[in-house]
């Protein structure tokens, strides 16, 4: 250092980080033992898991009975869960009363559904454009397959739909129809046009103010009074409409939140480039607003999917309804745990997949802003 305080420093060579700040040692330190309290909680949790997991595992798998003719037979052979109630009735749980000879149609519709979802969920599949055409046609294909009434496919009444088939029909239709409707309602609520805005606000507030069960009751009973006498309006269709309207009102508010988060500069930039209202919405505003809204949208979808079980109230046999019917059978009485665990597992798989997909989507759409 000279007298003026002017200093020049040598360059320091790179060194290895200390062992405690890399790899699994670091992970353990940061996640499980970061403080005395966290270390104590880690140990307590480990002990509780030790107490809980082995017996549960034994009940569900090791000591379980998978096939039996009745509850008595189950309990005579094993200590654990009696999955026989599920395995003997698995067709009921999946198809409800869908005629046994026609069940291949439901299976085919399900496989095609998965195929139709691929290009919608993932944008890097080869030949996506043509594939999407198939996805757009899928509702029609599914309708013909499931309900039939054309040569070669005898008609199946929708009253015979049940189980997971019914859940998927209501859930998938509700989700795919309510998203576009929700977007339109959200845009309408922010519209400059007074009438449009008032209609959208009125609709959203009315639907949100009424429980879904009430809407389902309206669908099953009251609607018939309002329609001209003699019109038979399929109950399943009425339920689909109500579920869609219900969900779209919630989605509209979620999406409106996303729209409000977009800075005004984005609208101005789109306008100043000469993009019309619909083009600027579609190309600039909605892609960003929907991305922000993904957690809320998926939240609504999951809620809708689980709310489909409410159709039990108006006499439709969803998985819970089938479970209840099964449990009232004298041969199987008292096995409610097994039935509800099985139904819960189905819902968990569906909802957890949606949740994981939404996380994947968020990561993919992250562009560093």
């Amino acid at each position: 250092m000279d007298r003026s305080g002017h200093q020049v420093h040598e360059k320091v060579a790179d060194m290895r980080p200390p062992i405690t700040s890399v790899g699994w040692v670091r992970w353990l330190r940061e996640n499980l033992f970061s403080s005395p309290l966290s270390a104590a909680l880690t140990l307590v949790t480990a002990y509780v898991l030790y107490l809980l997991v082995p017996p549960l595992f034994g009940w569900a798998f090791l000591d379980a009975v998978w096939f039996a003719a009745s509850r008595e037979e189950c309990w005579a052979t094993g200590e654990g869960a009696c999955w026989a109630i599920v395995t003997t009735r698995v067709d009921q749980f999946i198809y409800g009363d869908y005629p046994a000879d026609e069940r291949w149609r439901a299976v085919l519709a399900f496989v095609l559904l998965l195929l139709a979802l691929v290009p919608i969920l993932f944008d890097r599949v080869p030949g996506r454009a043509r594939w999407l055409v198939f996805s757009l046609l899928y509702p029609l294909i599914a309708y013909v397959l499931l309900i039939g009434g054309v040569p070669g496919l005898p008609e199946v009444e929708t009253a015979k739909f049940g189980g997971f088939l019914l859940t998927l029909v209501i859930g998938v239709t509700g989700i795919s129809a309510s998203l576009p409707l929700g977007i339109l309602l959200a845009l309408g609520r922010r519209s400059d046009l007074f009438i449009v805005r008032v209609l959208c606000v009125g609709f959203i507030e009315f639907i949100r103010g009424v429980p879904l069960i009430t809407l389902l009751f309206v669908a099953s009973t009251l609607l018939n009074y309002f329609l001209p006498p003699g019109t038979s309006f399929n109950l399943l269709v009425r339920v689909l409409i109500m579920v869609t309207l219900f969900s779209s009102a919630y989605l509209a508010e979620v999406i409106r939140g996303g729209l409000q988060a977009i800075p005004g500069g984005q609208y101005e930039a789109a306008n100043s480039l000469g993009l019309s209202y619909w083009k600027s919405m579609r190309l600039v505003i909605l892609p960003q607003a929907l991305k922000i809204s993904i957690p809320g949208i998926v939240n609504s979808f999951i809620a809708l999917f689980k709310d489909t079980t409410l159709v039990i109230i108006i006499g439709m046999l969803d998985p819970l309804g089938i479970g209840k019917a099964t449990l009232s059978d004298a041969t199987w009485q008292g096995l409610s745990t097994e039935v509800y665990v099985f139904v819960a597992l189905f819902f968990f798989i569906c909802c957890f997949s949606m949740s994981r997909y939404s996380l994947y989507l968020e990561r993919k759409l992250h562009t560093g802003h």
């Binding site: 930039a269 306008n271 000469g274 960003q288 560093g368 802003h369």
Partner: protein, 316 residues
């Protein structure tokens, strides 16, 4: 460099545009008498004074290292008797302004003086309540079709860039050409790359705006506007949100654009830029145009007390 040379769709004749594109030649092709006889002396005193000056003295009025390119006598923008209110607040009062094709105008003034609002009225991001705004021969009214027509021809650059964060730089630049001008994707991308080269960041084309520095983002924003091949460019404080070291790279692009003969209106506090390229500097305060003059006169010999005060505060 002149982007106007390869526009296949432009068929309108542009008198004087040839001269406007050659900044080195002073006064060629000008018609001062015509302009002085224009009748709107109140709205453009600078025009009147320039017209009365002897031909060939343009460098003197320019005052900078480079002489401002002479403008044509074709009117690009005509604002007359424009008033605007935000609620009860009278934000613009009797604005009269005529901008000729190829002219570069710098608007300055204290914050809240309405300078941004004036240029935002030119592409109808704000609507005026009284008076007339005629851009490229099209009067701005509630007619959405006309508004979109004007917006296609008027580019705008914002203080906060307003790039679309979900699109890459290249997609930002091709969006409007593809969806508004209906160009095929390949052609739009070729145009976009040409302008990205012009603002000197072709290598960033595949990045997202969030990955660029402020100066780079603003240059992309300029390129995005240019991709629509506008006849008029509006700049709303383009360097105000930038770190000092990035201001120059943006100004360089704007100077380059000015020298190509683009009609430009810039709201800015960069007085060096005003001296270098402006034909006219306009000073606004309290929603009114207080003074307008060629940069040399404006900076050396401002007429109004308010202008003098403002200049003493921003020029150190």
């Amino acid at each position: 460099m002149a982007e106007t040379d390869d526009k296949p769709k432009r068929t309108r004749s542009r008198p004087g545009a040839g001269a406007a594109r050659k900044p080195a030649k002073p006064a060629a092709g000008r018609a001062p008498a015509k302009r002085a006889a224009d009748g709107r002396t109140g709205s453009s005193p600078a025009r009147a004074s320039a017209g009365s000056a002897p031909a060939g003295t343009v460098p003197a009025t320019g005052g900078g290292a480079r002489a401002p390119a002479p403008a044509s006598d074709e009117i690009a923008i005509e604002i007359s008797g424009m008033h605007k209110w935000f609620g009860d607040f009278h934000v613009l009062k009797d604005i009269n302004l005529t901008v000729y094709r190829g002219e570069r105008i710098v608007i300055c003034g204290p914050s809240g003086s309405g300078k941004s609002t004036v240029i935002r009225c030119i592409n109808r991001l704000e609507e005026h309540q009284r008076g007339h705004v005629i851009v490229d021969g099209i009067e701005l009214t509630d007619n959405l079709k006309r508004i979109d027509q004007v917006r296609r021809e008027v580019g705008m650059v914002f203080q906060h860039f307003n790039l679309f964060p979900h699109l890459t730089v290249l997609e930002n630049c091709t969006l409007a050409p593809i969806w508004v001008r209906r160009l095929p994707k390949a052609e739009a991308e070729a145009i976009a790359m040409r302008y990205l080269e012009r603002v000197k960041i072709p290598e960033q084309a595949q990045k997202y705006p969030g990955q660029l520095s402020g100066g780079q983002q603003q240059r992309v924003a300029i390129a995005r506007s240019l991709c629509m091949e506008p006849r008029i460019m509006l700049f709303d404080e383009p360097t105000s949100a930038l770190d000092p070291e990035m201001i120059k790279e943006v100004l360089d692009v704007m100077v380059d654009l000015a020298e190509s003969g683009m009609t430009m209106l810039c709201v800015t506090h960069e007085m060096g830029f005003a001296r270098q390229v402006a034909n006219r500097v306009i000073f606004m305060d309290g929603g009114q145009i207080i003074e307008q003059a060629p940069p040399a006169q404006f900076f050396e010999n401002p007429k109004s007390e308010r202008t003098r005060l403002f200049l003493s505060q921003i020029l150190h």
